[in-house]
């Protein structure tokens, strides 16, 4: 941790918060507090300078225009690159995942990304809307991904990143793989409050940020019920 309290930055909520993205900041803060970890959440709007010394950066989803604008401002600001160089955790969701890569398409135009993840995104023929599930990379040691996706992008992974998950339902990057990670950077198409359905993923980010390998378990009754109810719904839709 950089200071005595864990610092989470929610990047550009004015641009990159299409649908419930605030949830990820709320969930991380609550899970840290329940473990007695002091925590501070900063919402940094796009007309403000991004701090370069926070522990976790959350980059959420957004419409095409705000996504392109957000990427431009993050490149010009430079703080996120410095933070990554110093070992900060970055969690990108949907548009926020795409803009961490080399390039993406917004409003039909190819836009430069932050080149923090070795991925490139273009447009698919159809929009991917619906439940998204996948088996997460075994090295991360967490249960399957459960989420909802809503995006028109297709993402291609370069050699410097690993897929976050192998898709079992939905589309993700390309119908086979979903999301990407490298070091302490992780991105997913599971949009909005992705951590609500994936408390183990929230804890992974907290472990990365704090260096604490054994976080005390929490009561995840409601998340567990939600996960099994969604799993049953996906199975029922197949049957």
């Amino acid at each position: 941790m950089s200071t005595e309290s864990l610092r989470i930055v929610w990047v550009y909520p004015d641009l990159l918060s299409t649908y419930g993205d605030r949830g990820n900041a709320l969930i991380l803060a609550r899970r840290a507090r329940q473990r007695g970890l002091p925590i501070e959440v900063l919402e940094v709007r796009s007309d403000q300078r991004l701090p370069a010394t926070a522990d976790i950066y959350l980059v959420g989803g957004g419409e095409d225009g705000p996504q392109a604008l957000g990427a431009q401002r993050l490149i010009a600001d430079g703080s996120l690159h410095r933070a990554v160089a110093q070992g900060s955790v970055v969690f990108g969701v949907c548009a926020g995942y795409q803009l961490l890569g080399n390039s993406f398409f917004a409003k039909g135009t190819k836009c430069a990304g932050l080149e923090l993840l070795d991925i490139t995104s273009d447009r698919g023929e159809t929009r991917a809307v619906g439940e998204l599930t996948g088996d997460i990379d075994a090295r991360l040691g967490i249960p399957p991904l459960s989420g909802f996706e809503n995006h028109g992008g297709r993402t291609h992974l370069g050699p410097d990143v690993s897929p976050l998950a192998r898709v079992t339902a939905g589309v993700g990057n390309d119908g086979a793989s979903e999301g990407a990670w490298r070091g302490k950077l992780l991105g997913t198409y599971s949009h909005g409050p992705a951590l609500a359905r994936n408390p183990a993923l929230a804890d992974l980010l907290l472990r990365w940020a704090t260096g604490i390998h054994q976080l005390p378990p929490l009561d995840d009754t409601w998340s567990d019920r939600l996960r099994s109810e969604r799993r049953a719904a996906v199975a029922a839709a197949r049957a």
Binding site: S17, G23, D64, V129, F148, G192, W222
Partner: protein
């Protein structure tokens, strides 16, 4: 009316009546659907000769339509789609069923505004607000504003009544800079009905700069877009009209948001020449609308139904609800949108300290949200269980669309 339209209109009415008699629905869609199959121009034929107001936006359009229809009623008979069937099939059914009326006030789904403008050639269009709603299939907010703007500049003779507090609406009602100046842009009357939800308008739709807010005012930091001076405003429990006269509004509907809807309704009626002083008393005749705000007694519980379909309308519902036991019900069926992510855009903290019950297809999504929000709750499986779980007295029910309809069905389709 051409013969084909007459036949279509008559068949449409019959189908609607059959649908009602068969208990299949209230007939507000099926009749129009059949009528439009026979005569694709039926809506235009039915609209011809009437002075029409259209009411569109993400939230409040059903209520505002009902209030505006009551206000315009000062002048004579008004046709309206009061069941919330707000697509062209619903408009066709409503006009066919009403027969010949000099006036019509129609609620229009925001996606269909351009099409209905074309078909009905209205006298006035009221634009309420634009915010995130069912994003898994709805258009993005900025794209919707763009569609409205493009449709409005094609109709230079119409009057627009628009919300000065919503930057997206103001932008949509303002002709683009490259607008052909030989064509008169629509005349806009601005109202201020307040806006609790700001999270879809931090970025200027014109230039992409940040929008700043201070008190009621908002302005773009990069271009001239800013809040216009409204002619109609809400003050205390009444409405200030453009002449500066204040009219007390006594409604049977709860919440500040409905005083704002009343101001909009009076502004719409004024475009037909109705004086607010003549219309304002008629607004209190509006009670519940297709079950919204309906109050029902059951086993000593005074149950009130509030519909909340998206983040902006949940904020309004918390403002309307009494501090009393509250049942929340969430579904995610097709009409609701399949995605429940928006639950994290709503701050449920106002419910702390109230007895909170949750139910619905997606109660677990809500459970996780409330847990993170530190709002204690109890999960129940049926509406009857909810009634038994609370003491006699007020029970507030807040539900999204199909969850609301399920509960309404439990209460014998209360209106």
């Amino acid at each position: 009316m051409p013969l084909r339209a007459k036949v279509a209109s008559s068949v449409s009415r019959t189908a609607a009546a059959l649908s009602r008699a068969a208990g299949r629905g209230d007939g507000s869609v099926i009749g129009g659907w059949i009528g439009l199959k026979i005569d694709p121009d039926l809506l235009a034929h039915l609209a011809a000769g009437r002075a029409i107001a259209l009411v569109s936006g993400t939230n409040g359009k059903t209520t505002t339509t009902r209030l505006a229809a009551a206000a315009v009623g000062v002048l004579g008979k008004v046709a309206t789609n009061s069941f919330g069937a707000n697509m062209p099939t619903g408009h066709t059914s409503a006009l066919a069923k009403a027969g010949s009326t000099p006036y019509a006030v129609l609620e229009v789904d925001e996606h269909y505004l351009a099409q209905v403008l074309e078909a009905t050639e209205p006298h006035v269009v009221a634009l309420l607000n634009l915010s995130r709603d069912q994003l898994d299939r709805a258009k993005e907010v900025a794209m919707m504003a763009q569609l409205w703007r493009a449709a409005l500049v094609r109709h230079q003779d119409i009057r627009v009544v628009a919300n000065a507090d919503d930057p997206m609406v103001v932008w949509a009602a303002t002709p683009p800079p490259n607008h052909d100046h030989r064509i008169n842009p629509p005349q806009v009357t601005w109202f201020s009905a307040g806006q609790r939800w700001h999270d879809d308008s931090w970025v200027c739709p014109e230039c992409g700069s940040t929008i700043q807010r201070s008190g009621d005012q908002w302005w773009c930091t990069g271009c001239p877009l800013r809040r216009p001076q409204p002619q109609w405003t809400v003050e205390d429990d009444g409405v200030l009209d453009p002449t500066g006269a204040w009219h007390k509004v006594s409604l049977q509907l709860p919440g500040k948001v409905n005083v704002g809807n009343a101001a909009t309704a009076l502004a719409v009626a004024a475009e037909f020449g109705v004086r607010p002083v003549d219309a304002v008393s008629r607004l209190s005749s509006v009670t519940s609308i297709a079950g919204r705000y309906a109050q029902v007694e059951r086993d000593g519980r005074h149950i009130r139904l509030l519909l909340a379909k998206n983040p902006a309308s949940w904020l309004e519902a918390f403002d309307m609800a009494d501090v009393a036991p509250t049942l929340l019900s969430i579904n995610a069926r097709d009409p609701d949108g399949l995605d429940t992510s928006w639950l994290f855009d709503v701050d449920f903290a106002p419910l702390r300290g109230r007895q909170v019950l949750i139910t619905g297809d997606r109660a677990y999504d809500l459970a996780v949200r409330l847990d993170v929000n530190d709002v204690p709750f109890q999960h129940i499986r049926s509406f009857d269980e909810a009634v038994r779980a609370v003491p006699p007295g007020r029970l507030e029910v807040i539900a999204n669309y199909t969850a609301f309809q399920d509960i309404r069905a439990e209460l014998d389709r209360v209106n």
